[in-house]
Symmetry: C2
């Protein structure tokens, strides 16, 4: 199956009032810069990068420019050594200078990479999770670019890590039947009223969720504490409550406010400060322990994830395959996180469509704990195969590919 | 003087064979994404962001999108509180999501910010260095956005730092007469032959330079060592020789190769590995001491500079005002570097045009040592007021503005 044409689509979706809002981002759209790999037949590879609307066109243009070398290539040839292909795309010198490995050009790489993996799975007529699990450790590693990680994770280290998990895979494959637990992010968007938060909490619980998230970072921390208390009172002490500040605080503010927020016993505090601030997060993680720090949706690449892990600056790794350089970089970061024994709990710019495959692989093949996967329902109606959540659990997808096709 | 229209220009320049080449970037162009702020009269503000050609159009498009809020505003009003203006431009939520504070959108911010400072200086009919020196510490700080630096540099800290230097400014103002020492980067581009490197070294010395740079990162380190030896033999033991690897090595390679390269007594080793790798640079800096590490041209923002400085991972801070978010972020990083007692030796994507102003300010107003400023002559003929280098020294510019106007 050969790539005969490459097109992009700039898809933007308005959300209902308040949905998606946080302390930094108000009145937003969700948007995908979409890469389509055409094959001359009915099979098309689809890859997403996630943005908030304006500027999504820049990512589409970068996809067009960066993906040109893939034209005319059979997908099996590309994926047999995708690590090299990936690096050659991302290191085209002039475009590299626009990063390197971050921003618009790296988001474009995400869409291209994800389209390649999607097409590969479709061409083999299997869901992505099965494609990945069926690869040998060597074949899997050939799809990854581990450059600049060698001080912590060599190719040999990664091979050992994957190989050592092979014998215990059957124990962990039960998850394919039970499904993968979800958590509900849409309980407590920033602009929702208190009443709405309580109502959403009730609905989440009746839908089978026992873990949920509240957006914090109000000018007055008392608002955050009150709303967290409402969720706690509604959901009970056993419920898992995550708080998300979306980078609202500087480091001294974060230290001070997090100390207050620990009263509501949060499972984690997410994005407490600027996502580039490795040492700020390190300082915070030490200051708020035993409360834990989660971050990752704005960490653009494996090198910065390496620094966060080395510095013990993140307790949960929220790498997102539609925000870093696609599935290949997601897996590289997941390998690295496994080495550091840090759980991967992806941010889902893809609304969980792609990540439902990746967390199955991470659990079964890498031995990552099957914690839970973020669930955001707002774009359900736009996907051809929307994720199926039953009783709070993602059901294992059985269709071909990576579940990222949008309805036209 | 009010901004009545905003236009962009995508200017790309082919270089002569070999010029500009390094271990990562071959056959390159130099390019500027230019922001023009029109005023209805003959005065136009010009701001540059530097790229390597392809993709420069994306930066121009982002300039158009991000600069719209400036339309109709008097330049004096904008600059009286430019820190707030700056933050409102960079934190437009959807565009913020494409960074934050890095990549294409941040390069666009650089061009916009630099155009504002240029227009401000032209409107007051003074060179930029004089405009900056004539501001009170409070006025200067009002142009900066110090958010996310508060754990290391509060507004009060910065005010104290600036105020403490006021009484000794006259001692340092001599530099306005003597000129600011330059160093020659164009001696040893990666693809130049050995003969060319020797010839360039001779010419640099006869032109008054005593400091020069060699591009390293060859597949065979023996090539780098041989070429460094040629420069050393030609220029003499007293000459200052800098080595620049342009991110070619991973951390273990850098440790090993830098140990060999120290035989030629380099003044610094520049960009030894991936520019995002704060902790990798920290490890290297410790391993190669007393040899020193320089980096900065690919560090996109003040937060990452803060981490590098906190980690003692850079000995020379090569912040570049056409690569970070413009003059305002350059000055914020320079304040931070001063606090950590790390010299600022800018990378000059602007070919030194803008930075000749900024290093004068850094020396006189911040008390930074007047070390030297990179000199690259390849685009001289394209600037309306090309930097004047006499006997290896940048002559203090006397024309209005920031010296960034290009000839059409």
């Amino acid at each position: 199956m050969t790539i005969t044409a490459i097109t992009t689509a700039d898809r933007r979706f308005d959300l209902r009032a308040g949905a998606g809002s946080d302390a930094i981002h108000q009145n937003i759209q969700y948007a995908y810069a979409v890469c389509h790999l055409h094959t001359g037949g009915t099979t098309t590879g689809t890859g997403l990068a996630f943005t908030l609307g304006a500027g999504n066109d820049l990512v589409c243009q970068a996809i067009n420019a960066l993906s040109a070398p893939l034209l005319g290539k059979p997908i099996e040839d590309l994926m047999a050594d995708f690590g090299t292909v990936y690096r050659s795309i991302t290191d085209q010198p002039a475009y590299r200078w626009l990063g390197p490995h971050k921003g618009v050009v790296h988001l474009a790489l995400a869409a291209i990479t994800n389209a390649c993996f999607d097409l590969w799975a479709k061409s083999r007529q299997v869901p992505l999770w099965k494609l990945l699990l069926d690869l040998s450790p060597e074949q899997l590693l050939a799809t990854l670019d581990l450059s600049y990680l060698e001080d912590e994770l060599t190719h040999a280290d990664a091979l050992t890590l994957l190989t050592n998990q092979l014998s215990t895979r059957p124990d962990r494959s039960e998850v394919l039947k039970t499904g993968y637990r979800g958590y509900d992010t849409s309980v407590g968007w920033f602009n929702y009223s208190d009443e709405q938060v309580v109502e959403n909490t009730r609905r989440a619980i009746s839908n089978g969720f026992s873990a949920m998230k509240l957006k914090v970072g109000s000018k007055d921390p008392a608002r955050d504490i009150r709303r967290a208390g409402l969720i706690r009172a509604t959901a009970g002490d056993a419920a898992t409550l995550m708080l998300d500040a979306n980078q609202q605080w500087n480091v001294p503010q974060a230290r001070q406010i997090c100390a207050q927020l620990t009263d509501v016993n949060p499972y984690w505090i997410e994005e407490p400060t600027h996502p580039d601030d490795v040492l700020g997060h390190q300082q915070l993680a030490r200051a708020v322990a035993p409360f834990k720090i989660a971050t990752g949706e704005h960490i653009p690449n494996k090198v910065i994830f390496k620094n966060f892990l080395q510095a013990q600056a993140m307790d949960f790794c929220q790498v997102d395959a539609v925000r870093v350089g696609g599935v290949a970089e997601f897996l590289a970061v997941s390998l690295l996180a496994k080495k550091f024994d840090v759980p991967v709990v992806p941010h889902v710019g893809d609304m969980g469509q792609l990540h439902q495959h990746l967390v199955l692989f991470n659990h079964i093949a890498l031995g990552h704990e099957a914690l839970f996967l973020e669930h955001i329902p707002h774009l359900r109606s736009h996907f051809r195969h929307p994720a199926e959540i039953v009783g709070g659990y993602y059901q294992t997808p059985q269709h071909e590919g990576s579940s990222c096709d949008l309805i036209d």
